[in-house]
Symmetry: C2
Subunit: 193 residues, 2 copies
Amino acid sequence: MDKLILASNSPRRKEILEKFKIPFSIKTSVYKEIFTNEKPETQVLKLSKGKIQTLLELNPELESSLILGADTCIDLDGNIIGKPETVREAKEFLVSFSGRSHKVITGLTLYNGKNSSFIQDKSITMVNFTKLTAEVINWYLNTNEWKGAAGGYRIQEQGYLLTSSISGSWYNVMGLPIRLFYGMVASQGISIF
Amino acid sequence: MDKLILASNSPRRKEILEKFKIPFSIKTSVYKEIFTNEKPETQVLKLSKGKIQTLLELNPELESSLILGADTCIDLDGNIIGKPETVREAKEFLVSFSGRSHKVITGLTLYNGKNSSFIQDKSITMVNFTKLTAEVINWYLNTNEWKGAAGGYRIQEQGYLLTSSISGSWYNVMGLPIRLFYGMVASQGISIF
């Protein structure tokens, strides 16, 4: 078995695997994320698998590898919130989160090249936001952390100050629920230690 | 008012203030931490204040400054757990945490040189540990993260994998509950934005 392949270009996922000293390499393919009307949980699982399938189609030599695919979205009352494209959209997102809770959902797919199987699971974290004043929202938008961030905030940076509490995995909100990942790896008889 | 002075040498506290882009400088004095039989909450508040008082005694020119003192301890069933001195002690701590909960308590004292007042508050986070196998404990001790860490683990590093969940502030477990700090600063009429 080769070492783990991460089928994601997310700098955050790379950082988390490095932090936990997991040897891996990154291989990605162009994969267009299209959100549908299905339940958010269903969609992130599909997308995380789709990324691996596209990668395997384009690189058949990887078919005996161990590959991790991941997709994270924000679910506000059943609606998927993506990455804001403008500061105005980022502001709308923050206003919609103010004083309420939303879910951060990551779907993980692990492809085990030993038996060509796909293992899937998801992690859901509730994030509670404080009541945001216009002053706080303006301050936060000026940090520019909203750029490229799902929902327009980064909990691992100053965006933490917008939240009052979370329930569930911290690393899930950052894009890779590491305990869930370890459990999936362990279920395949691969020791993490 | 001068910029904030942090009366602590903790690299972790320094890192948190930097992450949140708070301008500060570090000034510390030799201060011997002696734990007593008082309640852990009482002790961390006393120690966080003591660090500032010693600093002010030795550096009277700081008396008009804004100074932050902090002290963190682990409370397991009312007993204070400090930093392990040997790998054997670190192992004992981890065994005692296995499959159970303990509290991480940080006492903060903010000295406001404008009116020579001391403001105090504390943050308590419950940390739940998974049931640790001997294999996991040995793996973790080999990471050497136990050195210099209260309780012998670092939740912000691979020690995260020993925990199943936390309830309360994440940054408190790292040594500086940042939301509590902001609240204390705001209570003094100093805006954080």
